[in-house]
Structures are given as structure tokens and as C-alpha cells.
Symmetry: D2
Subunit: 307 residues, 4 copies
């Protein structure tokens, strides 16, 4: 199979390698001529036999949109565009509709795997028609891990990114679960070596997972995590997951709480807790006065302090 691949950065570059190792002929394009196989998108398209398949692996949002629009200009009836970036599933429907006006197929594909993907394979969640998926299947087979799992044709256009979005939402709450347990183990003086406890959980327990493996690596590098600030970004997918839950009346206590915990982690000051403190101060104005008193309860909090 021949495939065009647009975007040869960290992810795209490794995916080109893995596809080539899997016997796929890849024509890669990148704005950086040092790593690009061709000088332009049109050159990339020219080199592909029909039906042409072009995989877009660029940042979600404007760059994906403009790349897709440019490809729609260049491609024709029966060709297929694959969006492998982190697009919102609602964008997929718009892009697919644009492509369909020229008879071009559209496949959205959520990709998981990071730097491990090159060696271990990428987990792939794809959305589109069976015909369009079939045209990309050899590439999926080359990219996915070797076992039976790791690829799913999730449904119509959008279903791939939707599945990947939910995957990331779950991931947020799983990370938060380990994190809360970690804090409790760190804070209570019961366990001699928190890293050793986490490490022991990697076999035979109910909580064993790849995320646990990663956390143990981090703890072994930096016991007590003194080199890491408790500051966590969030990507669009966590937010979209909660928004989709709200739109569909799905209770989502833990994923939402995980998202909010990341918001909090990035605040130097919490306006909400300033408001709580301010309300308490309205009671506590008297607390200041209490400090001057010397009654039986002078050294302690007011016994009936309402907060």
C-alpha cells in the first residue's frame, strides 16, 4: 500500500518509520524540508496511486482544518483523507461533509501511544464508512500493536475521535485515583517507602496497569517527587468528555473532579477560596478580638464558632 503522511513531527515521524517497517510505501510531507520526502502537498498527492490515501498528523484546530481543506482541493473521487490528530469529534463531521462534496472519503482516527508507539505499536480508534476504512486498513495494520487488540473501527465519522476523547477522560480519573492514594500514603506516617509499595502493586493486584508502571518509574527516578511541581495541564479531550456528559445527562463525578483538580493545580490563588475565607472572616472578625481574652477558652477556638 502507498500512503501520504502530512506532519512528520514527533508522532508523524515515528509513524512513518513504523509503517515503512510494516511494508507500506510512505510519502511524507513536512514544512521542514530536512525531514520531508517531497516539497509540497501537491507533490505528495501526485506521487500516490489511486485511490490516494492521505493521513493528516498535525495539531488539532486551525492547522488540521486548513490542511484538510487544501487536500480536498488536491484530491478527487474515491480518495480518502485520514485525520489522525486530536480533533474534536464534532469537527470530523464538518470536514467529512466538505470532502464528500468532491466524492472524497473521510476517516477520523484517535491515536494513542506516544514515544512507545514506534516499538510497541499505536492504539487506533477509527471512524468512517467500511469502504473508506478498508482503503486505510493496511496502514492501520502496520501501525497497531501486534496483539489482537489495539485497533477498532468504532463507527461512523467522528466515532474514532469520540472514542479517543472518552479514553482520555478515563485516563484523567485513573491518574487522579493513583495520585490521591499516593498523597495519603505520603502524608500518613505508616509506610516506610511509598515507592516500594507502588512498585509491589505492579503484579498480582487489582490496580496494576501501565499508568502504575509509569508512576513507579517516576517515583524511582525521584522518590518524594521533589523535582516535580504539582501543576498539571489539561488537553481539550478531558474538557470535551465532561461537556459531552453534560449534554447527555451522564453523571461524571470522578472525571469532572479530576479535571477540576488540574484547574486548581494551576492557580496561584483561588478566588473561590478567597470568597470562603472572606465569609469566614465575617464570623472571624470576633476571632481577632478573642485573642485578647484570657478566659477558660482563651487559647482555643471559640467553642461555638459557627464555622
Amino acid at each position: 500500500m502507498d500512503i501520504g503522511l502530512v506532519g512528520l513531527g514527533k508522532m508523524g515521524g515515528n509513524m512513518r518509520t513504523r509503517m515503512r517497517n510494516g511494508g507500506i510505501t510512505v510519502v511524507g510531507y513536512d514544512r521542514n524540508p530536512d525531514i520531508s520526502d517531497v516539497g509540497s502537498l501537491s507533490e505528495l498527492v501526485e506521487q500516490l496511486p489511486s485511490p490516494k490515501v492521505v493521513w493528516v498528523m498535525v495539531p488539532a484546530g486551525d492547522i488540521t482544518r486548513s490542511t484538510v481543506e487544501e487536500l480536498i482541493e488536491l484530491l478527487g473521487e474515491g480518495d480518502v483523507i485520514v485525520d489522525g490528530g486530536n480533533s474534536r469529534w464534532t469537527d470530523d463531521e464538518k470536514h467529512a461533509a466538505l470532502a464528500a462534496e468532491k466524492g472524497i472519503g473521510y476517516v477520523d482516527c484517535g491515536v494513542s501511544g506516544g514515544v512507545w508507539g514506534l516499538d510497541n505499536g499505536y492504539a487506533l480508534m477509527a471512524g468512517g464508512t467500511a469502504d473508506d476504512i478498508a482503503k486505510v486498513q493496511p496502514a492501520f495494520d502496520a501501525l497497531k500493536p501486534e496483539g489482537e487488540s489495539g485497533f477498532v473501527h468504532a463507527g461512523r465519522v467522528g466515532a474514532g475521535h469520540f472514542s479517543k476523547m472518552v479514553h482520555n477522560g478515563i485516563e484523567y480519573a485513573m491518574m487522579q485515583a493513583y495520585a490521591e492514594g499516593y498523597e495519603l500514603l505520603e502524608k500518613v506516617d505508616m509506610v516506610d517507602n511509598v515507592t516500594a509499595v507502588f512498585d509491589s502493586w505492579r503484579e498480582g493486584t487489582v490496580v496494576r496497569s501501565w499508568l502504575l508502571d509509569l508512576l513507579v518509574i517516576a517515583l524511582e527516578d525521584d522518590p518524594g517527587l521533589s523535582k516535580v511541581r504539582g501543576y498539571a495541564e489539561d488537553s481539550g479531550e478531558g474538557r470535551w468528555t465532561v461537556e459531552a456528559a453534560i449534554d447527555n445527562a451522564v453523571p461524571m463525578h470522578t472525571i469532572a473532579a479530576s479535571l477540576f483538580a488540574r484547574f486548581t493545580s494551576r492557580q496561584d490563588e483561588s478566588p473561590a477560596m478567597q470568597a470562603v475565607a472572606a465569609m469566614r472572616q465575617q464570623f472571624g472578625g470576633h476571632a481577632v478580638r478573642a485573642a485578647e481574652e484570657k478566659g477558660i477558652d482563651a487559647a482555643a477556638a471559640d467553642p461555638s464558632d459557627p464555622v
Copy 2:
């Protein structure tokens, strides 16, 4: 009615005044001789006619326990001890059992009102037998607000503090509700004057309350709350409320979340979020490398960054 009052601090001192204004003869004792009416607990007890009623208004925990034990020594059959402090309701049963061995009655009373109590009256939630409550009733009547509400005989010993505990748990979540709304109004650039919006809510709205009144006072004193740190203590009662919920399988999402928000507000660093960041760094090690790349996605996040 005559009553002994132990503890003349911020709360006890004002309660003595309000009871005297209500026609009660109060003998007050405090370790501080400048404000005490008598020199010792035994002197206090001597001055009371039988059946003697002694109201304890000292900090919860050890000081309340030792005061109660001392009073049990000094009092006898038919007398009544009132614990008006912030004791845990489970302590009440123990204290009442001790007192009962000598035929002494026991009443627990949650008191709300703070510095406003002197003028506006104190809300009172009492637990004990009807007979014991009746012996204290004139004091309750003097202390409570003038309207029809503000006093309840909630049930047997412990029911008063249990009710007060739940009151405080509710209070936590109400404060957090206003606080979250405040933060959203502050953060989004839609409203010209957040204080004015809160002030407008004081009449005609569903969210009007005394806590709202207090928040508006605070905002008018300090628009933007720049003088207040987002740091909030918690008292035992919030914690006990959630623990009682857990013991009784009661879902308590908002009150627990409010308590946790206070915990977070007091942390300089969050071990949990350090763990989240450390897990992300295991993905993000490659993010650092990405910065050196110049592909089509060089300036942006990896399109398939799994977090």
C-alpha cells in the same frame, strides 16, 4: 431561674449578658479572675439552688471532658449539666452515662450565632430527656432569637450536637456554592461589577440568605478580595459530618467536596498533583524533545499526545 455558666470567653461572656438581660440569674466561672463571678467551680455550684443547672461553654475535647468530670464530682441527683460547646455527638453519650451514674441529667446543646448572638439571639439545638430539657428551658428561652424558630429539642442526648454538626456540614457546601459562582463571575469578563451582582441577589432571588449578606459585606469592604488569602480552616464538625455520612452510606458529594476544597486551600504543594504531573512527564519526556523539532507541528503540542 438560676444557672451556672462555665467559660466566659467570647461566646460565654455574651451569653451571660443575654441571659441576664432575659431575667436569668447567672453565676459565671472562668479561669480568668477578672471576668469570673466566683473563684472556683465548687463555689459556683454552692451558689446555685437545687436542682442545679450548669452550662459548660468551653472548647470541645479534653477541656470539656475534664470540666464535665469535675462537675459530676460536685453535682448530685436531679442536677443537670449542659454542654454548649462544639463536642462530637458521640462524646455526649459517654458524658451522659458518667453523669447518670450519680443521677445527674445531661443535655447537649449546639449553639450557633457568633458575635451576632448577643443582640439577635443564639440558635439552639438541644438533646436530652424532656425532664432535663425542661429544667434548662428558661435559659434556652432567654438565649434564643425572639421569633418562633431558633430552638429545637432535637431528641435524646447527642441529638443536639448531631444537628449542629449537620448544620455546619450544610454551611460548608453553601459557602462553596457561592464561592464557585463568585470565581466564575470574576474570571469571565462579562460582568462589570461582581459585588453589585451579588448585592442585587439579596432580594427577590432564590439564593438570598444570611451567608450571601455576609459575602456582600466582605465584597463591599474589599472588592476583588485582594486582602484575603484563599486559605480556609475547617472545624471538626465538617469532618464529622462526612464521616457520619460514610458510616451510614449517605452519598454526600457536595459537602465532602467543600471539605476537600478547604484541605487543598491550605496546601503549598499538592502531592497528588505532583503525582499527576510526574505521570504526565513520563509521556512528556518526549515533549521536551519536540521543542527541538521543526516539523509542521513543531510549535504545537504533539497531535496525539496521550494526555
Copy 3:
């Protein structure tokens, strides 16, 4: 002042009465001729002196949009449309832009008060330019409660509905706070009369509020709430509040949890908890076998059952 009022249902009808009582000349239009003052929107517009002010009080969404569009056709330079319904603040900007093309002013106004509004006044949160607000001010003055609070010019177009939206979000969490406390008091056998405890809180406590008053009325009508199902709808405003929080990285634990609790209350079956049960069953397959065993632990849970 003269004003046109479109929509004379439960809210609009009472607002017409209150405005008329306040000296405003109101021309009301409703699809129902029995309660309408005029036969059509155009007739309504004709009867108003310039600058014409028309208050729209119809359901949010399509009906509001079509009404606004129709009014834009009928009105002209210097006139003002007021949207008093529960529109999303993001709609206001679109409607205002449409109106501005013809030089028509636009004011959005969040209205709180329900059936109490007729007698007690309506709390009003308005957005728009100072000029447009000024044209409507006599109507605001007639509608609002008599005290100093109850009206705010919150900011530009959208700020009124934005403020009302946040108001409703806060309301959700306040209601949930009382509800969680109620459940704990009901479930634990400590308090003889839960209604009496809530009633006592109406004076002197930190949690006193109008919502508490309403809850006490409900509890007095139906102690134990046996006539009420634990089923709660939610309106758009609670959802929009959490979505706005997510868009702006505002942690919103209690309001989101309150919203999710309403979602849960409407489910006959929880797919999430089915999944939890299914995972436990994978452990519990052996639990079935355990029932046939007669070891020392036969009658009890497996001592090391991992869940």
C-alpha cells in the same frame, strides 16, 4: 412609561400586573386572544410611542429567537428589545448584533422570582448599554422588589443572563447542600423530628435562607417527604454554568456534583454502576462458589476479597 410585553403566561401575566400597579402603561400580546391586549405583534408595536420598548417573555430558544426576529422587522432606530426569558447569554450577542443592524437597542434581563414576584417583586439582572438600560429603567423599577437590592445593570449585552445563569448554578449546589444534610438527619436515628430541626434553623443560624424556608414549608406539608419522588429535572442554566466553568478553567466541584446528582435521580438504571458491578462480578464469580463452602469463613465475605 409605555412598554410592550410579549408573552402573558404565568410570568408575563403577573409582570404585566405588577408593572401596571407601578404606573407603567403596558400593551400585552399573547397568542391566546383571551388574555392578549392586542391582536398581533405589529398592533402592539403601533400602539407604543417612540422610543418603543418591547419586553419579550417567552420560552428560551426557538420561540425567543423568532419573536426577536419578528420584532426587529417591526421596530426601528432607537427602539429597544428586552429579552427577559432564560436565554443563554451567548444567544444575546447574536440577537443584539441583528438588532443593531437596524439601530435597535438590545437588553438581556435575567428574572428571578416565580409566583412570589407579583407581590414581592422580581430580582432583575440586566445587560446592555447604559442608554438602552435607561430607556427600560422605569419598568425595572416597577418590577423589582422595594428594597435597595434586586436590580443590577450587570454589564454589556449578555451580562444579565450570564449573572442569572451563575445564580442558578449556585442555587443547585445550595439545594444539594440542604438535601445531603436532610438525608443524613433522616437516615441516622438521632433526631426525633427532622422537620423541627430544619424549622429551628430559620433564625439565628448560618444556614438560614429563603431556600431553607421553602424546604421547611415542604417538610411541614409532608414530613418524611413520602409524597415526593427523588427525581429532579435540570434547566439549561445549571449545565451552562458548568460548561462556562470548564471553558474558563474554574474548578466547580459542588455545582457540577449537584448537576450530576440530578442526572442520577432521573435514571432507572445506571450504566456506570452496571459496569462497576460487572467488574466486581469478575471477582465475584468465586463469591458464588463461596456460598457452598463451609469453612471458618463460610458465612462471611472472603477475607481477602479484593473489592
Copy 4:
């Protein structure tokens, strides 16, 4: 090594087998004579060489306590009792102190693994002195999985059960994370085959784990989970985890929310949501009246309905 094993139920029976397979001489006792190796605890103790090691594998609480007390009677200086059940870590300290009065060592051991433990090994988290642990080490080595993980000497007495408790708390939130994602995928009509999506995640993704494997098995057995009720018990350990968090001011949003979700899953009716509905009904009383009206908004919700 020789070891006594008390409790040969589902867990204990398999552990006897695995220890014997590992070359340990096991004397097992159970109340059920059909599966017991000896007729009494004293006979078990007699058969062991000194220092005698006895592993208790019976239900936590009263049965563990009485078994430990009986063993303390029978054992002596230098012997070791191991509590492998699901005891609360605070019980361990009490039991260890009792044992220490006779010079008997005490080790607490959290055990994870369920029915898979026989073949795959049991994850073990142990607390106690290094000397006592050393006396049990051959048994730990036989029981644990074959890899490098799966056993940890977590710290002093109590640290084993404390670690296991936190493990279970983490497990709750992980299960809830998958469950919330499952519900969203089920509820939104985007994905053709939810089971296939979960199955695909088992390789190459960030959320791959043993719990995910179990969930996929369950989904393959029963797509849509129609045979499972959304009803989930909780064990003591989830509750203790949140209580320990509260005692130590550790924010624990997701684990607490997971616990509360289980509480909710077991309720036929939610008193809290009855209270919310009752408060809404106080607004909604007028909604009933609205149904009789025929205004422009007659068929829709009141435009300014405050909830």
C-alpha cells in the same frame, strides 16, 4: 518452612495449595473437618516447630480478633502471628500489643489476588518488624507472583493493611473512571460496538490495565450488561480510605465520589433528591397552574422558572 494456616475457605484453601506447591509444609485448620488438616487450633500449634508461624485468614472483625486472642493463648516467645485478612490497620496495633505481652511477634499482611492468586500468585503488603517478617518470608515467597513485584515490607505493624486499604481506595476510583466512560459511550449514539472499543484499548493505550481486561470479559459475556443490575456493595476499605484522608486533611475527590456512587447505587429512593424535588415543587406549585393557561408559553416551561 512450616506454617499453620487458620481458615481454609476460598482464599485460605488456595493459599494452602500454592504454599505447598512452593515447598512449604502447611498445617491447615478450619471449622469444617472435611477440609481441615487438624481437629483444633491447639493441635495445629502443637504440630509446628519453633519458632511457630501461624497465618490467620478469616473474616475481619470479631472472628479475626477471637482467633488472634486464642492463638496468643497457645503461642509463646518468638512465635509469630500473621493476619492476612482485611482488618483495619488500627486493629493491627491493638492485636500486636496483646501479642507482645507474651513476646509473640505480629505481622499484618494485605493480600490481593482473588481466585487468580492460586495460579498467578498473591500480591502481598506486609507490616511488622524485620525479624518477624523474616520468619514468614519463605511463605511470602511461595505466595507472591513470580516476578520482581508483588511483595513489599511496607513498614511497621499496620503498614501492610494500610497499604492494602489505599490500594482498594484507588481501585474504587479506577473502576468508576471506566464506568463513567462506559456510560458516555453507551449513551451517545456514536460508537457501533462499545465492547469492541473497550477491547481495542487493551493494547497500546494509556488506560490499559487488568481492570480493563476484566471489564472486557464482562462486556463480551453480556454486551450492554443487561444481565447486571447497577448495584455495587462497598467493603470497609473504601470507607476507611476516605476516613483516613479526612483525618489527615488529604483532598480525595475521586475516591470519595466513587464511594458515594456505590451508596447511591443501592438506594431505591434518594432522600436527598426528594428534598431537592420538594424545594423545586415549592416553585413548581405554580407550574401545575401553568398547565391550565393558554398563553404564548403555555406548552413550555415558564421562561423565568427559577430552577
